[in-house]
């Protein structure tokens, strides 16, 4: 009944052909909102919308997580002269689904002397942090769960919440390797938060706003990575490095450090709880990549070159959502490339890299960027 | 120095030592009490400088238990073999050379583990491969009905 009404309403309001929606989701979302408001009170509208968005994000989370695991395995396989998963389905595309089913049915081993409550809580904290960050990301024109005016700040704040889960997991496992991994992770994320923040601030200075939709809109005539001269590019590189470190991925995967700490903070986890950590790692990667895409590479904005109108029209023809996904996956691919090329850093070198190299460069970079903006030298 | 000169040199330091020209190397048979001083002398003497202890092999000679030391000098590239044996099969005790060559630490632990020869003044004489309850398998009188299968 409700669904019927929503679809009817939306179809009424969208007079243009259906594929127009692909280029601007705002009319669709607006019509859904209005339709709901007409049928029920304001409170229930909000509740229903929350449920819809929750379910959508949950599905998105699962699909993206599964796909990224598969993509990672294929990418690393190709870099290592291997075929990668190729058993289940054509080119092994159902491999991760099979893995997921296995993880669902696998026994969850209870840990003696583990702090049961915290042990069970930790994976949820990790995964909730990912969910919350996903809310603020503009996926396409008008496809945006909450458009906060402090979007960048919100994302930075929320995405670093995951470390609490990691620390809890490491501590409550009552395993020495886990504890070392968790403490490493704590030190690592606390330091790299700085670089992530400062790299984003460089762009915030350029855009003049923290609202992600405004930042995307400001890149209509050119992405910030091109508009911002060299400082924006440096900020992008620093953001890539720091966000790789923040997501605990190689070459900064010290918290897991397979050859040193077996599996680090999630050594003792099994079954679906392990799957949560596993999924959260890929989801965090997706989130940082999509922020990089949004802030530096123009989000869902197509690639435009100033005076070339014909070229710009062709670019406009590709839907914004595809642009967004494409850019995000490009950044993810870069991060995978890092992981499968470099050896791991040591914990003190990791901190040296942050405090001796990234932070000073970043601070100087912010200054230069502020100067450029002040003088109006940017495009 | 070749094996003949080495033998003569060692003989000149102590007339009581039994020096034999073996097939490959000069072989010196030392009583257990003289082992450590001789080893120290060979390590430090200007002409020999045996600074590299190649290996310590424990041998069960039937009546006696003994150890064989292969020493080499990295400077002169000559080798000498020291042999010592003790007839005490219950509490065999030899002097440790771990203070002269660091590598003797592990090599002596191996000998102790497999033959039960104890080394006095060894820094950390524990069994290496086997359990404490295990016998000493490289002895000729070692019997193990479960693990040794004879055709």
């Amino acid at each position: 009944m409700l669904l019927n009404m929503i679809t009817a309403n939306s179809l009424q309001l969208v007079s243009a052909p259906w594929w127009r929606v692909l280029y601007d989701f705002s009319s669709l979302t607006k019509s859904i909102d209005e339709g709901l408001n007409n049928t029920m009170g304001h409170f229930w509208t909000v509740v229903t919308e929350m449920i819809i968005i929750g379910v959508l994000i949950l599905l998105f989370y699962a699909v993206i997580g599964l796909f990224l695991v598969y993509a990672e395995r294929k990418v690393c396989a190709f870099m290592q002269n291997r075929l990668g998963p190729n058993r289940i389905g054509p080119f092994g595309i159902f491999q991760t689904i099979a893995d997921l089913i296995k993880l669902l049915f696998v026994e969850m081993i209870p840990i003696k002397n583990a702090d049961g409550f915290l042990f069970n809580l930790a994976p949820f904290i990790v995964i909730i942090a990912g969910f919350m960050a996903l809310a603020a990301i503009p996926f396409a024109n008008g496809l945006h769960a909450i458009d906060m005016n402090i979007g960048v700040l919100y994302v930075i704040a929320v995405s670093s919440m995951g470390v609490i889960g990691v620390l809890l997991a490491g501590w409550s496992s009552n395993n020495k390797y886990s504890l070392i991994g968790a403490i490493r992770s704590g030190a690592q994320i606390v330091s790299y938060e700085l670089s992530v923040g400062l790299a984003l601030i460089t762009v915030v200075i350029l855009a003049g706003s923290m609202q992600l939709s405004v930042i995307v809109e400001a890149q209509r005539d050119g992405w910030f990575i091109f508009k911002g001269h060299i400082p924006a590019f440096i900020a992008f590189v620093i953001y890539l490095i720091a966000s790789t470190a923040e997501t605990n991925r190689g070459p900064f995967d010290l918290a897991e450090a397979e050859s040193e700490l077996t599996a680090g903070y999630h050594t003792e986890y099994s079954g679906i709880k392990f799957a949560f950590f596993f999924l959260a790692e890929y989801m965090n990667m997706f989130i940082v990549a999509s922020i990089a895409a949004t802030v530096f590479l123009g989000g869902w904005m197509p690639f435009h070159v100033g005076p070339w109108d014909g070229f710009n029209h062709v670019m406009d023809f590709i839907p914004p959502f595809v642009w967004y996904i494409g850019k995000t996956f490009f950044v993810i691919w870069l991060m995978m490339w890092f992981k499968w090329t470099f050896p791991r850093l040591r914990i003190d070198q990791l901190l040296t890299l942050e405090w001796k190299y990234l932070l000073p460069i970043n601070l100087v970079n912010v200054l230069i960027m502020a100067f450029i903006v002040l003088m109006g030298w940017h495009f | 120095m070749d094996k003949k000169e080495l033998g003569e040199f060692i003989k000149s330091t102590d007339q009581d030592l039994e020096v034999k020209e073996g097939i490959q190397f000069a072989e010196v048979t030392v009583p257990p009490s003289k082992l450590h001083p001789l080893a120290k002398m060979l390590r430090e003497a200007e002409q020999t400088q045996f600074d590299f202890l190649v290996c310590i092999s424990g041998v069960d000679y039937g009546q006696d238990l003994g150890t064989v030391y292969h020493l080499r000098s990295t400077k002169f590239d000559h080798t000498v073999v020291l042999k010592t044996r003790t007839s005490d099969r219950v509490h065999p005790l030899l002097d440790s050379v771990a203070d002269i060559w660091n590598t003797a630490d592990f090599l002596e632990r191996e000998v102790y583990d497999l033959l039960g020869i104890k080394f006095a003044n060894h820094p950390d004489l524990r069994r290496l491969f086997l359990d404490n309850s295990w016998g000493f398998p490289l002895r000729k009188d070692y019997v193990d009905d479960i693990n040794i299968v004879t055709k």
Binding site: C76, M79, Q80, N81, R82, N113, N174, K176, L179, I180, R184, G250, P251, D253, L254, A257, E258, S259, E260, L261, T262, W340, T341, F342, P343, R344, L345, R346, I347, D348, Q349 | G22, I23, Q24, F25, E27, D51, F52, L53, V54, C55, S57, V59, V68, H70, T74, D77, V81, W101, N102, T103, F106, L107, E110, L128, F129, L130, P137, L138, T150
Partner: protein, 374 residues
């Protein structure tokens, strides 16, 4: 709950002890390291070994000399051919058998191929220890080519059992020469890639330079041989000092460095791969004609006496010490295995470094656990 807190709390006196192994990704086998930590800094490392102690020395006392050879394969399985050679040379020395040149050359080529494949696997696993997983696959990919050459000639890939007293088991396969040449040509192109991926990498430099420094005096005193010893300047290459097989006929450098840290142990092995290729190239085109094995008696009995033969495996000096009482079985066989001795230095050089460095140092010593336990 209270008990739990007591277990976790660490005060100044209490050491944070972790067990690395026996099942641990970085020990490449069943080696158990009891590591005392202060924070992340290693205070002491106690190796606990013996998980795969099979009593090879005891077993050798009850079997004949040709049968011993297949057991030596299983000590240092990565330099299986060279281990075989140690026993064969000892037996031949004792019986004073004159070995024709062809056999010597075949053995030398095979030994050097073994050395290359061992170093390739080491490179692969060392990269993995440092966290660069791609190295593992590149190393194994190239090693596969050598294993194919082995398989074609010897019938098996890793544990070849190709040597026998008096020669080798089979003649070289007709394709052997061409395949080895192809491999050398291929590997000369690929080896610079190893350098690009790892040797030149700034992260690798940070991880390896100055880590686990072993001085020359300590290297000699601890008896660390092989590339690990030579990285400290310990001139211990048996191939140079006491040439066996055809090593006196070829020109090659002994790779010596004075740094003695993880980085130089790494570079020493990379350089050895180049040198091994040089040696093979000198020999592969002029393998003399002749029989591939000398006719030996069906039952080999060594004359009474003691025989010691050392060879240079991929990891250091392997000594085979055989005491014979004139029977067809040896009276006592002792193998001076390089890994066992190299392991003893681990505590000395890993002290004061981080856990991650311990893994790197362990990897750079290139330990093969079955050779330690025997």
């Amino acid at each position: 709950m209270e008990e739990q807190v007591k277990n976790i709390s660490t005060d100044e006196q209490q050491e944070y002890v972790i067990n690395m192994g026996p099942q641990h990704p970085s020990t490449h086998g069943v080696l158990r390291l009891v590591v005392s930590l202060k924070g992340e800094t290693v205070k002491s490392v106690q190796p606990h070994i013996g998980y795969i102690h099979r009593g090879i020395e005891k077993m050798c006392e009850s079997i004949t000399y040709p049968q011993i050879i297949h057991l030596t394969d299983r000590m240092d399985y990565l330099s299986a051919h060279i281990n075989n050679e140690a026993v064969c040379l000892t037996v031949e020395k004792a019986l004073q058998v004159e070995i024709p040149d062809r056999i010597k050359v075949i053995r030398t080529i095979m030994s050097e191929l073994t050395r290359i494949q061992s170093h390739q696997l080491w490179w692969a696993s060392f990269g993995m220890d440092l966290g660069g997983l791609t190295c593992f696959f590149y190393g194994l990919r190239d090693r596969e080519k050598i294993l194919d050459i082995f398989e074609e000639t010897c019938g098996s890939r890793m544990i070849v059992s190709y040597n026998c007293p008096g020669g080798v088991m089979y003649d070289l396969h007709p394709n052997f020469q061409q395949k080895v040449k192809d491999f050398i040509k291929y590997f000369r192109k690929i080896l610079p890639e190893y350098d690009q991926l790892l040797t030149g990498n700034v992260i690798f430099h940070e991880r390896s330079k100055g880590i686990g420094k072993l001085s020359l005096e300590d290297a000699i005193s601890y008896g660390v041989t092989g590339p690990s010893g030579r990285a400290s300047g310990f001139s211990c290459d048996v191939r140079k000092h006491e040439p066996y097989s055809a090593y006196d006929k070829v020109q090659f450098k002994e790779i010596l460095f004075t740094g003695g840290d993880t980085y130089f142990r790494y570079v020493a092995r990379i350089q050895e791969m180049w040198e091994s290729m040089n040696i093979i190239e000198q020999l592969i085109d002029n393998i003399p004609e002749g029989p591939y094995a000398v006719k030996m008696k069906p039952v080999i009995k060594l004359p009474e006496g003691e025989y010691y033969q050392r060879v240079e495996t991929a990891r250091g000096e392997l000594g085979a010490y055989i005491i014979s009482d004139g029977n067809k079985n040896p009276y006592r066989v002792k193998f001076r295995s390089p890994n066992f001795v190299n392991l003893s230095v681990l505590n000395h050089i890993a002290k004061g470094f981080k856990i991650a460095d311990l893994v790197a140092i362990g990897g750079s010593l290139d330990l093969v656990i079955p050779d330690i336990d025997r």
